[in-house]
Amino acid sequence: MTLLEVKGLRTYFKTQEGTLKAVDGVDFEVEKGHAMGLAGESGCGKTTAALSIMKLLPANGYIAGGKINFMGQDMARVTGEKLRSIRWRDISIVFQGAMNALNPVKRVGDQISEPILLHEDVDDEVATKRVKELFELVGLSPNRIRDYPHEFSGGMRQRVMIAMALACKPKLVIADEPTTALDVMIQAQILQLMKSLQKELELAMIIISHDLSVLAETCETLCIMYAGKIVERADSVEVFRNPQHPYTKGLIEAFPNIKGDKTMPASIAGNPPNLIIAPKGCRFAERCYMAKEICDEKEPPLIEVRPNHYAACHFVKAG
């Protein structure tokens, strides 16, 4: 069952230099109980896409077009009471870097019970009981709900953030760079936790990361974003077995492979384009080793290369 369907999403920011098209025509779907990975370089619009779904954009940002269909509601259009009833209760988010944004002078447990008390008609006692269950669920000792954030390590704080996102039993959780600031062993623990929660609670997840290998291990499907657009989309195994877009290929090659030979991985030279004056043709053309004349002229459409495998490049063939 499709839980979330995003179609032609465009999210822009008003800036002094002009309109910045952070997300510029993005399509994807998330199935119930499935995890979708959103990968791409810093600044390509991953966080903006997530905030659009949650309708939590900063003041200068706005949804300029497209549909965000969540269980029959177009999130791009809902407002007021309706929006409040969906946000946090049906969809929630673990913000990028949020584990460092916990209120330092407030007990951790109280910070989690807050959204419960706000969104549900329950008393303190029920909320506290729920917080204890949530602690248990994310692998923290329920005895520690009265601790302060500084008494927790980075990995434990990230568990708290996940518990907070799960507080109102949502159907979809968006996790923005959930392991980026953590070291490898803690990263493995958090990913294992997310995977087991997904199974146990039949959660749908959107996991955002610039680290493709992290996503490959945790997500059923993958979207590769570049400069505000999705350039490739397929299930994870297919993306790695059979990458089509030159950018995807470049990203995969940029990973050191500890199981392979000891060779320096390739890098993708250059920087992403300015999103205020986006290039007319393919946005990747400036950095693409395959670019031909047509790439500067015409924007490549996202076409289905194989069943459920999409790529946006002039030189991939529809299968």
Binding site: E41, S153, M185, Q192, A254, K259, K262, M264, P265
Partner: protein, 559 residues
């Protein structure tokens, strides 16, 4: 690959845990965060040596200690790189003038055998086996609890009731005046001293005769205190005291007992069969005959740890560091030019602004920020993350160093540009002959980039060897776990993950025996009590784990 450029031996960095006033009254014992706790490795010229480990295991502290950005607590750091000869000559000349003898580090102990300083170590395991646990425990007890004749070091007395019983007999209280000065201020300290009419001995001060309020002020800086055993015995009776002494038994370090602590003649004699004389790597200049002085100065290394402030300034130019976080380490209010020129100004290098600009330009070029003019006058927030990291590299290059500590230089960067920065460093080695201590928690990066790897856990190196051997043939359970959790993109390459339980370990509470034992899937009884020593695996490859100790039951079982 050639000779060593930097050699680190038994390096220790302990940070005293700061305590509140009340806490310091309740317990007299100073505890430490043992961030680096006796590590040994050397880095060859033009080599990239990589330290890998979880957050908090002591990687950054090791890097900083080599450069003396933090002061080591123990051990040696020796430098053999370019410019060493001049510096060594300066150091020996200076010590000649002061009529002291300079100490010179020699890598080849055999060659300088007749001159190196020595000390005695007793093999604890052997001693125990031969003379029996009890007899040996007695020696330890005598050695560790009575180091100063009639005085008992209170640090060894852990039992609270015992501490309380002994409190009335505490005589000397030695305060670390440097620390006191840093915290309460020089003026206040001087006032206290004047009131008491005493003078500190070197950096230490006995505060036994200081009164009340002043004593309280200085209490937090007490580092050692001793009990007058004679008085204690008279007052509390011999039996009570004997009980205390027994309980106070402290643990020796690793499997060796330093004989310097064993003062009792009978005990020394009893241990004699198990003692081996250990050679240090240090030679006193004054012991060297005239005709070999030249040779020693050529072969010897500089003792970075004992360099004076003045000489250290010259040394720093050869040893540089690229800091962990390019976002935090660059001052946002300074232009890139100012950031890179700062070390030149601080070290008074370059006769004028034009000369400095030339050096900055070259550093920017070498760091791949080309053309330099386009970058020099921008501010850190006006360049991309990758370029910001290159600014960090340029800042380290401007003094023309020979050895670079690169602390997680690519961890904050997008995967797509990581290799660019790594390749930049490879180019620097190629073109400038640089050597690197590379610090990372990402084994994938360590694998493709380094020549040798040291795996660090809680302040110790647990496995060390050529990169390919450590990654493809890991021996330590911790190394195996670390390798297993590196995410692998290709599903066909996936193997089972060994996810260690628990948060990262705490350097202020180091477990007994093998410090990895609480998280080790292969833990045996011996692991809880005995610290494993390094075991040879193959050429240049060492591991510290009882599973691989020769003749261990585990090995017999056929691991």
């Amino acid at each position: 690959m050639g000779n060593d450029i930097v050699s680190v031996k038994n390096l220790q960095v302990w940070f005293p845990i700061r305590r509140g006033f009340v806490e310091s009254l309740l317990s007299d014992e100073q505890s430490y965060v043992k961030a680096v706790d006796g590590i040994t490795f050397s880095i060859k010229q033009r080599e990239i040596f990589c330290l890998v480990g979880e957050s908090g295991c002591g990687k950054t502290t090791t890097g900083k200690a080599i450069l003396r950005l933090v002061e080591p607590t123990g051990g040696d750091v020796a430098y053999f790189g370019p410019g060493k000869d001049e510096l060594l000559k300066e150091v020996t000349d200076a010590s000649n003038r002061k009529k002291t003898s300079a100490r010179v580090y020699v890598a080849d102990q055999e060659k300088w055998a007749e001159f190196v300083e020595t000390y005695d170590m007793a093999d604890i395991k052997k001693a125990k086996r031969v003379m029996g646990e009890n007899a040996f425990a007695g020696i330890l007890k005598r050695a560790k609890t009575k180091p100063d004749g009639n005085d008992l070091n209170m640090a060894g007395v852990k039992n609270d009731a015992d501490r309380k019983a002994l409190q009335p007999f505490v005589g000397k209280m030695i305060v670390d005046t440097r620390k006191a000065k840093a915290t309460i201020g020089e003026q206040k300290l001087t006032e206290i001293l004047e009131r008491a009419g005493i003078k500190p001995q070197a950096d230490d001060l006995n505060i036994a005769s200081i009164k009340n309020a002043d004593k309280k002020t200085l209490r937090p800086f007490v580092k050692k205190e001793f009990v007058d055993i004679g008085r204690a015995k008279d007052a509390m009776g011999e039996k009570a005291l004997a009980g205390i002494l027994k309980r106070a038994k402290t643990k020796p370090d690793g499997n060796d007992l330093n004989m310097a602590g064993v003062k009792n003649d009978a005990d020394r004699k009893a241990l004699k069969p198990f003692v081996r004389r250990v050679k240090s790597n240090w030679v006193l200049m004054s012991k060297i005959p005239k005709d070999r002085k030249e040779e020693l100065l050529k072969a010897g290394g500089i003792n970075v740890r004992t360099l004076s402030k003045h000489n250290m300034k010259a040394m720093r130019q050869k040893l540089q560091i690229i800091f962990q976080d390019p976002y935090e380490s660059l001052n946002p209010k300074q232009s890139i030019y100012d950031i890179i020129a700062e070390p030149l100004v601080v070290n008074s290098i370059g006769a004028n602004e034009a000369e400095r600009e030339q050096k900055v330009t070259k550093a920017l070029m070498d760091a791949g920020l080309r053309p330099p003019k386009n970058f020099m006058w921008r501010y850190p927030h006006e360049v991309s993350g990758g370029q910001r990291q290159r600014v960090g590299v340029a800042g380290a290059l401007v003094l023309d160093p020979d050895f670079l500590v690169a602390d997680e230089p690519v961890s904050m960067l997008d995967v797509s540009i990581r290799s660019e920065i790594l390749k930049l460093m490879l180019d620097l080695r190629e073109n400038r002959g640089l050597s690197f201590l590379f610090i990372t928690h990402d084994l994938g990066v360590a694998y493709v980039f380094s020549d040798r790897i040291g795996i660090m856990y809680l302040g110790k190196i647990v496995e060390l060897g050529p990169t390919e051997k450590v990654i493809k043939d890991p021996h330590h359970p911790y190394t195996k776990a670390l390798i297993s959790v590196v995410p692998t993109p290709d599903p066909k390459d996936r193997t089972e993950k060994i996810i260690l339980k628990g948060e990262r370990p705490d350097a202020s509470k180091i477990p007994s025996g093998c410090r990895f034992h609480p998280r080790c899937p292969f833990m045996m009884d011996i692991c809880r009590v005995e610290q494993p020593s390094p075991v040879f695996v193959s050429e240049g490859h060492w591991v510290s784990c009882h599973l691989h100790t020769k003749g261990s039951s585990a090995e017999k079982m056929g691991d």
